[in-house]
């Protein structure tokens, strides 16, 4: 029964990811005085792409064709270990947050390989930029996570959420820093505006788009879906770890319904924040990204320090 529930939660996760992307696009359009596309536009795009025939260069090796499937399945597996509407599910008990980061870097590794594989200038440039950013973002994310896990004394996500729920409303300095650092890292890792612009195909500035320039058809659909999933994963992580109230602790239909409603509300709010920041800030120069990410790292480090200094037991 629990396994069935975990599976259906993962399916729900995967199914809701394009809706979140559509909602963010909708908020951004409203904020920028443009007419918004329908909320379900990402689904239509994905459907259209799957119907089209993928065109693969004759220079491409097997890595190029297999990468979209690997990336997508890594993201689905990552989605299965993040509690969405209920804690204490068997899938989230089996793996912790380090494994989650491992899934992310596994997917990124194959994405970078696929960008290099075809041999175009843009692919190689995008891969090198992506790896540069991720080498800086990963330590920052781990620092933020460590600040969190030192309080909860576990790296398991559902146990950490249980800890926060049990404790009630406590103002922890380390959580403030961890939240800020995770938000900065999430923006960098999902390629949103101060770091990368998801809506542009301008050659000089693109990072994520440069790697997937050669993809078409269902391959492109899978990669797009995977990146929407990644965005949603980060959103759910932030929403459920720091503000877990409303998540279902017992497996009853009523609790699960509330859990779903709450997580949709939290994600909608977070995406409004994201759309606001994307509207207010301009994209940074590429060489300033390391300053941005070292600030995120510093926040994570300060989170750990303030856990030790300020929250120490006597």
């Amino acid at each position: 029964m629990n396994w069935l529930l975990a599976m259906s939660q993962t399916v729900l996760f995967v199914a809701l990811a394009p809706l979140l992307a559509g909602w963010i696009k909708c908020c951004k359009c409203r904020l920028q005085n443009r007419k918004a596309p329908s909320l379900f536009q990402p689904y239509r795009d994905l459907l259209k792409l799957t119907r089209k025939q993928p065109v693969v260069s004759d220079q491409a090796s097997w890595i190029f064709t297999i990468s979209p499937y690997i990336i997508f399945s890594a993201m689905v597996l990552a989605a299965s270990i993040v509690p969405l509407i209920a804690v204490d599910l068997p899938t989230s008990a089996s793996a912790d947050v380090i494994v989650l980061i491992g899934f992310f870097s596994f997917a990124r590794f194959f994405l970078a390989l696929a960008g290099l594989d075809i041999g175009t200038a843009f692919g190689g440039m995008g891969s090198s930029r992506e790896m540069t950013i991720s080498t800086l973002a990963e330590p920052a994310m781990l620092m933020g996570i460590f600040a969190l896990t030192m309080s909860a004394s576990t790296t398991n996500l559902s146990l950490a959420i249980d800890f926060v729920l049990d404790e009630g409303l406590v103002l922890r300095p380390s959580f403030i820093f961890a939240l800020l650092s995770l938000m900065l890292v999430a923006i960098a890792e999902t390629g949103r505006i101060p770091v990368d612009n998801p809506a542009t195909h301008l050659e000089l500035t693109m990072i994520h788009e440069a790697m997937i320039l050669e993809y078409s058809g269902r391959h492109l659909a899978l990669i797009e879906w995977a990146s929407q999933l990644k965005l949603m994963l980060y959103g759910v992580l932030i929403a459920n770890i720091f503000f877990p109230w409303g998540i279902a602790e017992r497996i009853t239909p009523g609790d699960l319904g509330y859990g779903l409603l709450f997580i949709i509300g939290k994600l909608a709010f977070l995406s409004i924040l994201l759309a606001l920041s994307e509207t207010l800030f301009a994209k940074m120069r590429l060489f300033r990204v390391q300053e941005y990410l070292s600030f995120a790292y510093l926040l994570g480090l300060l989170g750990m320090l303030s856990h030790i200094i300020l929250e120490g037991a006597r």
């Binding site: 406590v170 922890r172 300095p173 820093f177 300060l302 320090l305 303030s306 006597r314």
Partner: protein, 225 residues
């Protein structure tokens, strides 16, 4: 006693203390003078909030007066004076290129660790929970000194000096239940007088070496340029 057993005001004070530490780090990495002054004002504001929260939770009413003094002096008056001087000397467009910024930041983090290590035995002797923030206040002082070392503009040095004073004030709040009013008033006016004097110094430095870049003072003669 762990943080979850404390009352909400003490938790808020500890969180604000962490944010005061964060503003010190922000100042350290700031190359633009106007933004530096703004962050300094934010630090003053957080300090005033901390003082007010401490006044409420200790029900020590004369701390309200020092909170108000902090608000007036360090959030409004001194930042306004510094800002006016920067605008008058037309330095608000200069961006100071900070050499090895990352190293300075990491040095700042290790200073924070160092102050924790130094103060750990002292903090253990007392049961006052707010004393945990003493390490943060010491690191605010040390970070102010680091700011003075790592920046070259005289205005940045003044901001560093003022933030050292912020650290001292913060230490006084968390370690004691507020100093006597006479001392606090004296310190507050000293700071004000210092700010005025620094303005005059700016003027003199500027007329003699035609810049506020303090590194130029290292050259003694005009020959070896």
């Amino acid at each position: 006693m762990n943080i979850e057993q404390l009352d909400f005001y003490t938790q808020a004070i500890l969180s604000l203390a962490a944010l005061v530490g964060l503003t010190s780090f922000l100042m350290l990495g700031q190359g633009r003078l106007l933004r530096l002054i703004f962050v300094f004002a934010v630090q003053g504001f957080l300090l005033a909030l901390t003082t007010a929260a401490a006044a409420y939770s200790l029900s020590n009413y004369h701390l309200y007066i020092s909170a108000a003094l902090t608000l007036v002096l360090k959030v409004i008056l001194i930042p306004w004076m510094l800002r006016r001087q920067v605008l008058k000397m037309n330095m608000h467009r200069d961006v100071e290129a900070l050499s090895n910024n990352t190293a300075v930041m990491l040095g700042g983090a290790s200073l924070m660790l160092f102050s924790y290590y130094i103060l750990h035995p002292i903090v253990q002797t007392s049961s006052l929970v707010m004393l945990n923030a003493l390490a943060v206040s010491l690191s605010v002082m040390l970070l102010g000194m680091l700011l003075m070392i790592s920046h070259r503009q005289a205005v940045a040095h003044v901001v560093g000096f003022m933030s050292i004073e912020n650290g001292l004030f913060f230490a006084a709040i968390v370690a004691t239940h507020g100093m006597p009013m006479v001392v606090e008033l004296g310190v507050a006016f000293d700071v004000l007088v210092a700010a005025v004097l620094f303005g005059i110094f700016f003027l003199h430095i500027r007329t003699s070496i035609d810049s506020l870049d303090v590194d130029l003072l290292n050259r003694l003669s005009e020959v070896d340029k």
